[in-house]
């Protein structure tokens, strides 16, 4: 049986949205897929050596809040200083309590499973990012390189 292929584009740089690409890529690898993730725009935050990912309740009516805050708390209150940091701390604690892996752990598992991680060179230039800030093993390429793999993929996801 020929190896199946999974191509993912990761575009988001928040704590919650860091999960889908790494969960799907690591699982696909365990199932025998050859997998690549192409990180572009805010998705590049997921490749930083030191992750500083946060989650925000702002503009996210689907986010469950502690103590039913989403029911009675005014939307403007969500913009208060410290709210994002508090939500991030609570989310991380909840994940730990429920046995959900950290983003770092899932990313390590992806690298261990030889998931290819590709950073969008254009975004690196656009935001004046420094390659030294990214983890080892990342490749730098553009849209054409993504299509070379994605064009033969069995599953292609934009996250």
């Amino acid at each position: 049986m020929e190896e199946k292929k999974l191509a993912i584009i990761a575009t988001k740089g928040s704590l919650d949205w860091a999960y889908p690409p790494f969960i799907l890529a690591s699982t696909a690898s365990a199932l025998g897929y050859e997998t690549q993730i192409f990180f572009t725009f805010y998705g590049l935050q997921l490749l930083k050596k030191k992750l500083a990912l946060e989650v925000t309740p702002l503009g996210n009516p689907g986010m469950p809040m502690p103590m039913g805050m989403d029911k009675w708390f005014p939307v403007l209150g969500l913009a208060l200083p410290g709210m994002q940091a508090m939500m991030t701390t609570m989310m991380k604690k909840k994940m730990k309590d429920k046995g959900v892996a950290s983003v770092e752990e899932l990313r390590d598992l992806c690298q261990e499973a030889e998931v290819k991680l590709i950073a969008c060179q254009m975004t690196v230039d656009l935001f004046d990012m420094n390659q030294a800030d990214f983890i080892d093993g990342v490749e730098y390429a553009g849209a054409a390189a993504f299509f070379e793999f994605a064009g033969q993929s069995d599953i292609c996801l934009y996250i």
Partner: protein
Amino acid sequence: MADFDQELDASGLNCPLPILRAKKTLNAMDAGQVLHVVATDPGSVKDFDAFAKQTGNELMESKEEGGKFHFLIKKG
């Protein structure tokens, strides 16, 4: 429960860790050997079934006992 060669306790771990740990353990085992996985994630029941179907390993047994889920996987 039938005999097994190796055991993996994935209790307390959530998706996708039980599958990833099982895969890693299976990698170090020989074909025909049996891995016993213990998990507490209710999603792992369908996941181990799907894992076996897609990887050519055989899910010999899948059951719930004492609030935990037990899987016997024979390496293909």
